[in-house]
Symmetry: C2
Subunit: 240 residues, 2 copies
Amino acid sequence: MPDQALNPSCENHANKPPAVILLSGGLDSSTVLAMAQRQGFACHTLAFDYGQRHRNELDACTHIASSMNAASHRIFNLDIGSFGGSALTADIEVPKDREESNMTDIPITYVPARNLVFLSIALAYAETLGSTDLFIGANAIDYSGYPDCRPEFIASFNETANLATKLGVGGNTISVHTPLLEMTKAQIIQVGTELGVDYSMTHSCYDPSPSGGACGRCDSCILRRAGFEQAGIKDPTNYA
Amino acid sequence: MPDQALNPSCENHANKPPAVILLSGGLDSSTVLAMAQRQGFACHTLAFDYGQRHRNELDACTHIASSMNAASHRIFNLDIGSFGGSALTADIEVPKDREESNMTDIPITYVPARNLVFLSIALAYAETLGSTDLFIGANAIDYSGYPDCRPEFIASFNETANLATKLGVGGNTISVHTPLLEMTKAQIIQVGTELGVDYSMTHSCYDPSPSGGACGRCDSCILRRAGFEQAGIKDPTNYA
């Protein structure tokens, strides 16, 4: 497992409380990283190599963690992709040109129990760091209809996390932070831009071209493009 | 990931509802497998290679799954051991000769958020199998004081599981079965013996000798040995 101690000396991360930030390489989690840093946390970013079909997002994660001065960055190997059942991990075509209004159906890009698995491992990692704070860029407004992005899932997971761990049982309160949960994509882009996030580093497309260009037609591209338009901010995405 | 289709033809597993059984190679999970089979499930066993210091339990899992005619067996690689923080995965001495009455303290053999991570991945696997039933040998009576073996954790996880998945949101009810939760070790051994479990195949020791013999002195050995004594059943364990 690559574990990079990024800029351990030039920034005094040691005086800040540690937090674990789930990083996907996309627009949302990069914004969450900036928000957690603004809140004063030493941010330990965690990305998952879960058998996704393209590696662009893992490369983006590493670039973002380094550029945004994360306290450390880990890529965790997790072979849930081998279970199959999703267009993001199996050889199933990514849907294109869906209407935003139809995105409340759970699409084939859903990965079984992904956020639950990611958050559970992030919690295990946090516990070894002595951290009670997890950040995830879940969003229940401009999203693809995944059940594990909904507020009721996050709240239930947070409750379970406090019962699952020595840290929780020991009188500490674990907090699962979802600062984007009720924000539109445009609002997220506005906040991130104010915090200095360079969105040209981020990768959202579910089905990029071999050269890494975004397709512009999958759910993720459609939501991203509309977000920049609504925010009135220039979209730095390289569309293929 | 090894994925063994065990006896796919000689037993008609296809007509039974599928269930995922977490298998650790120990006494409890083997008994749970027998109980789930008795209930009529096609049992897909799932073991984790999570960086535990000794491999005996994974070998035991494979042997048990095959001998007990599981529908399939998987070993899932999961590098939570690299996070450290437990005597079961890091180079920390396993405690010996603890009094059973003191085992309510959480010991150093606790692995951060282990059952939450295991159950989350089991749920992802179950969802791809179209299964709504998970079985885990958690026990809150004769146990080592781990927070993630308590009934309140299991109940909370079950609730989260139904919110986390397409399966749960789709009107199905996911059930996390913990048939051993309120049983003593002696009762577990009695039930398993009635169901024909061969406990000589199972491995419980946290700190086996190089030849695989059980130490007889770690928490797990102490609880196991006392269980056989109380059940009045001959202990088949090979103590080093």
